[in-house]
């Protein structure tokens, strides 16, 4: 499994993928965090779904992580795309047969691939955290936000918890991408299905029938990063997300184990 992980990391660290993903994540994080701080005194929405995040809120211990977790959904979508393409491309490129000849245990292939992608997700979330904190710190004086509370033990503990939650959200979206990749065996189909579902269909469904938010996978994945919401608890989101992903992953893992590799 660790040999597979090492081989996968070698693929993931290729400059075209690594640099472009880092740049996208850094740019999105910088953009969203900047909006929060630059519009903090506007009296208009500067948070998720038009929420108003005032300088007073940002001056609290939680202000340190606000910019960090606001981008979690897009971080998740990025992970979905990367995980889906890295899995499905083995079929379209025909490289799966090479992998299976060198490592006949399909479960080891899957585990090693998953492990390498989790490492990749950790890297993405770390970049997200670093950029968000740097931008927050840099823009705090402009937004008249005091940062004294950001360096308390409460803030640091909150940072650690948010890091784990954002990471869980990223991995959940990535796992969803991997499931789609194994199911569709085509990067384009897997990515488009995942993105259209999470970004468009879930938003429309959740907006039209708000009670469905509790059941929608993407909404629940993102709710983990936010530490729960007023309508859906953190615990519920963790449970339902785990259930969706375990069931989905078990089905595709069985398919992957039993399916003939004929291309």
């Amino acid at each position: 499994m660790f040999n597979v992980m090492r081989a996968e990391l070698r693929k993931l660290r290729r400059p075209t993928l690594l640099v472009s993903t880092i740049l996208v994540v850094a740019a999105l994080t910088a953009l969203f965090t900047s909006i929060v701080y630059l519009r903090a005194n506007s009296g208009q929405g500067n948070g998720q779904r038009g929420e108003i995040i005032s300088p007073a809120i940002l001056s609290q211990a939680a202000g340190l992580v606000y910019g960090f977790k606001i981008v979690s959904f897009f971080l998740g979508i990025t992970a979905l795309c990367v995980f889906a393409s890295q899995t499905a491309q083995e079929y379209t490129l025909g490289t799966l047969r090479n992998l299976l000849v060198r490592q006949p245990s399909r479960m080891k292939i899957l585990s090693g691939k998953y492990l390498s992608m989790v490492i990749f997700a950790i890297a993405l979330v770390t970049i997200d955290a670093l950029v968000a904190i740097s931008v927050s710190y840099g823009l705090a004086p402009h937004a008249k936000v005091t940062t004294t509370a950001w360096f308390t033990s409460t803030a640091l503990s909150l940072l650690g918890r948010t890091f784990i939650n954002v990471l869980l959200t990223t991995i959940a979206f990535g796992t969803f991408g991997m499931i789609l990749g194994l199911l569709f065996r085509s990067p384009i189909s897997a990515i488009s299905t995942g993105v259209i579902w999470s970004l468009i269909l879930e938003t429309i469904l959740g907006g039209v029938v708000s009670s469905t938010q509790k059941w929608l996978p993407g909404q629940n994945f993102d709710n983990i990063a936010q530490g729960g919401s007023l309508t859906v608890s953190y615990k519920w989101s963790m449970g339902i997300s785990a259930a969706y992903l375990v069931i989905g992953f078990t089905i595709v893992a069985l398919l992957f184990k039993r399916r003939d590799v004929a291309n």
């Binding site: 040999n3 070698r10 290729r14 047969r97 490592q103 003939d260």
Partner: protein
């Protein structure tokens, strides 16, 4: 263990279609075995089953003495290139080999050696997507050699190679065989196989038509005597002489073709001379593998 590959009644059925039907053959250890058959005859299906990529519908088989139902026991000693090379286009040739070396737990130092061996030492750092078809094929062969295999399975290794590349692959296979590596190679270049394959497995429509020594196959084919008379008016007379002496004969492109081995050539020459016919040429030809293949497969 005397066989590198041994299969009995190996069968693969897709729905109603039988891709391979009760195939039984052996590939002796340390030899080069050619695997031939028209497109769609079941060659790749067989190779996929031997490599654990697809599950047989029926039958049994062993590779290097281990059952094909446990590919993890023999694949570390098997090198393979199936259905042409397949690599990651965004990685260099060397990086692609390192991915496979990491996966199989092989020393990465072998990558440079193998790139040198297949003539890609100077292009190892270039991205795979910039490679020509021949270079991709060479990289595929290098990947197959990564484990320093006891058995090498190659599916059309000379596709896209120029004549000198084909010759290099032929020499490479010969060298590997002389070092004790068993090679199971499918190819449409039958003249190449005739030069290197000690044994052959021939498939048609999923069934094994022949499995055994190449020499035995060729020897079983009747030789042909080709006689050219000094004057073309004598062509039909020569055919009559051959037929009168119990041989099949026909006129083809200004020559008489007689189904007979070389030893009957002297007798025929004498018979023609006695009939007042002078032969300007008389040659004995043995059927090539290609001719034998076409005759057996009806292609």
């Amino acid at each position: 263990m005397t066989s590198a590959i041994s299969v009995t009644d190996l069968t693969k059925v897709y729905g109603e279609r039988s891709a391979l039907s009760h195939a039984t053959f052996e590939v002796p250890l340390g030899t080069v075995c050619g695997f031939v058959g028209p497109n769609g005859s079941g060659k790749t299906t067989t190779i996929r089953m031997l490599l654990g990529l697809i599950t047989p519908t029926g039958g049994t088989g062993t590779v290097l003495g281990e059952s094909i139902s446990h590919p993890e026991r023999y694949l570390p000693q098997v090198g393979a290139m199936i259905e042409g090379p397949a690599f990651y286009p965004g990685l260099s040739g060397a990086e692609n080999l390192k991915v496979l070396a990491s996966l199989g737990g092989f020393p990465k130092e072998r990558v440079a050696t193998l790139l040198e061996k297949v003539g890609l030492a100077d292009r190892g750092g270039s991205k795979y997507k910039t490679y020509s078809l021949g270079m991709k094929q060479r990289l595929g062969i290098a990947a197959a050699l990564l484990p320093n295999p006891k058995l090498l399975v190659l599916d059309e290794p000379t596709n896209g190679l120029d004549p000198s590349g084909i010759q290099e692959v032929r020499n490479l296979i010969k060298d590997l065989a002389s070092e004790g590596t068993s090679v199971f190679v499918s190819s449409h270049l039958l003249s190449e196989l005739e030069m290197i394959a000690e044994s052959l497995v021939m498939l048609r429509e999923g069934k094994v038509l022949f499995a055994g020594r190449t020499q035995d196959l060729l020897a079983a084919q009747l030789a042909t005597l080709v006689a050219e008379p000094e004057f073309s008016v004598d062509l039909n007379k020569l055919v009559d002489i051959a037929i009168r002496h119990g041989r099949e004969a026909s006129v083809e492109e200004g020559t008489v073709h007689i189904v007979a081995d070389a030893e009957w050539g002297a007798t025929f020459n004498r018979l023609a001379f006695n009939a007042g016919i002078t032969l300007s040429a008389l040659t004995a030809t043995q059927a090539t593998l290609e001719e034998t293949f076409f005759e057996m497969t009806g292609e």
